[in-house]
């Protein structure tokens, strides 16, 4: 059963959710896509509750976590990822299995470059997200533009063709309940301009990279380039899953969980 509690990280109340699963096989720590919260991983948490401890904490200003002082969110990838590392320290988590989707998938690469990680699962993640125009970013938290409405079609377009209605609804509810300021910090600050390419040779843990077959926002070249830079990773697996697109943990939690468990067994992680 999923339960939640708060911890203090750098003076900020951070909401942590856990499936209270067994720790013997390792602890999975999950990171969400831009603007979203830990509900994205409830399906995986429930599905794996008898096999793995699965934890997801909301970053400052996300879900039920407090924002930073001054009503701010972390708005660059170094601060964002270093906050994750300090949260690991507060929670006493060592050598976790890191799962991340989109922005969270990017963060996995940074983490694997800087602290001991048992394995990473990067779903639609990349080591390099080029910067887009400032207009696009500013309009994410504009007094005359509601992100809940302006991004409905964008989110809709990134849900796979085989996703059941219940899962589709949760993803859409994710955008309908999004906070513009959080989205701007995540997408405009953390995701766009993310660049950890030069340290990809420091990633040594097993890596699973998953791409949704219906995700128009990615292309094969992007993944090929990421994998080419993972020159020291002990075990590398790449899966393209048809019928899903960009929100893997919410689109197909059982299928994704099975793929992850199989990868961990193959990698002996």
């Amino acid at each position: 059963m999923i339960s939640s509690y708060y911890v203090d990280v750098d003076g900020v109340k951070i909401c942590v959710e856990t499936n209270n699963g067994p720790k013997e096989n390792g602890t999975m720590c999950c990171f969400v896509s831009a603007g979203r919260d830990s509900r994205s991983y409830h399906g995986i948490m429930n599905y794996l509750q008898d096999r793995y401890e699965v934890i997801c904490f909301d970053m400052p200003g996300h879900g039920k976590s407090w924002p930073l002082p001054g009503l701010k969110c972390l708005d660059n990838y170094v601060d964002f990822c270093e906050f994750i590392i300090r949260t690991f320290e507060v929670l006493g988590i060592e050598n976790p299995i890191c799962l991340g989707a989109a922005l969270g998938g990017n963060a996995c690469f940074y983490l694997a470059q800087h602290i001991p990680i048992r394995a990473i699962v990067s779903m639609t993640g990349t080591d390099y997200s080029p910067f887009v125009s400032q207009n696009v970013i500013d309009n994410l938290d504009h007094p005359y533009a509601s992100v809940q409405h302006t991004h409905l079609d964008f989110t809709n377009s990134l849900i796979g063709s085989a996703v059941p209605q219940e899962n589709r609804d949760l993803i859409l509810w994710g955008v309908i309940s999004e906070c513009g300021r959080t989205k701007k910090a995540d997408y405009g600050g953390v995701y766009n301009g993310f660049d950890v390419r030069k340290d990809m040779d420091k990633v040594t843990c097993p890596c699973l990279i998953i791409r949704g077959g219906d995700d128009w926002s990615e292309n094969q070249q992007m993944h090929d380039e990421v994998m080419a830079r993972l020159v020291n990773c002990r075990y590398l697996s790449y899966k393209v899953i048809p019928g899903i697109a960009h929100y893997h943990p919410t689109e197909a939690p059982e299928l994704i969980s099975d793929v992850i468990v199989q990868f961990l067994q193959e990698a002996k992680a």
């Binding site: 080029p130 887009v132 125009s133 207009n135 696009v136 309009n139 504009h142 005359y144 533009a145 509601s146 409405h149 302006t150 991004h151 409905l152 079609d153 964008f154 377009s157 990134l158 128009w216 926002s217 292309n219």
Partner: protein
């Protein structure tokens, strides 16, 4: 297809938006909040639609008298590509599309009305091709 034939397709679109597609357009895609001009330029020719609270009042060939409010501009190839995949977000993404549509009007106005424009564009594809 001649410009006159295209205009006929837009008139078919008008019937769709005000008829069988109205409920979804107004309620789900927030069309009920849209009043003003929306222009789709095809190969340099502007097809201008005027809406009042999501109802398409008029469509004609020409620029809106107050300048472009929101809309898209593309050549024949860009529109044909969009009519095939019908993914509005891909067709307007400067990051993911080699030849994205050009937005008409301000970036803010297009962002505010993103869902409405997306649905009108998809229904235009339907009116032209289905």
């Amino acid at each position: 297809m001649s410009n006159q034939e295209k205009l006929e397709k837009f008139k078919k679109l008008q019937e769709m938006i005000n008829g069988p597609e109205a409920a979804e357009f107004l309620d789900y895609w927030d069309g009920r909040f849209f009043t003003g001009d929306m222009t789709f330029i095809m190969n340099g020719v502007p097809f201008n639609m005027f809406f009042y609270k999501g109802k398409m009042i008029d469509v004609f060939i020409g620029q809106p008298s107050n300048g472009y409010n929101v809309g898209l501009s593309g050549d024949e190839e860009q529109w044909n590509t969009f009519f095939q995949h019908r993914n509005f977000q891909l067709a307007t993404s400067v990051k993911h599309c080699d030849r994205p549509f050009t937005n008409l009007g301000s970036a803010l106005a297009n962002r505010q009305n993103n869902a409405v424009i997306a649905q009108v564009a998809r229904l235009t594809a339907k009116a032209f091709c289905d």
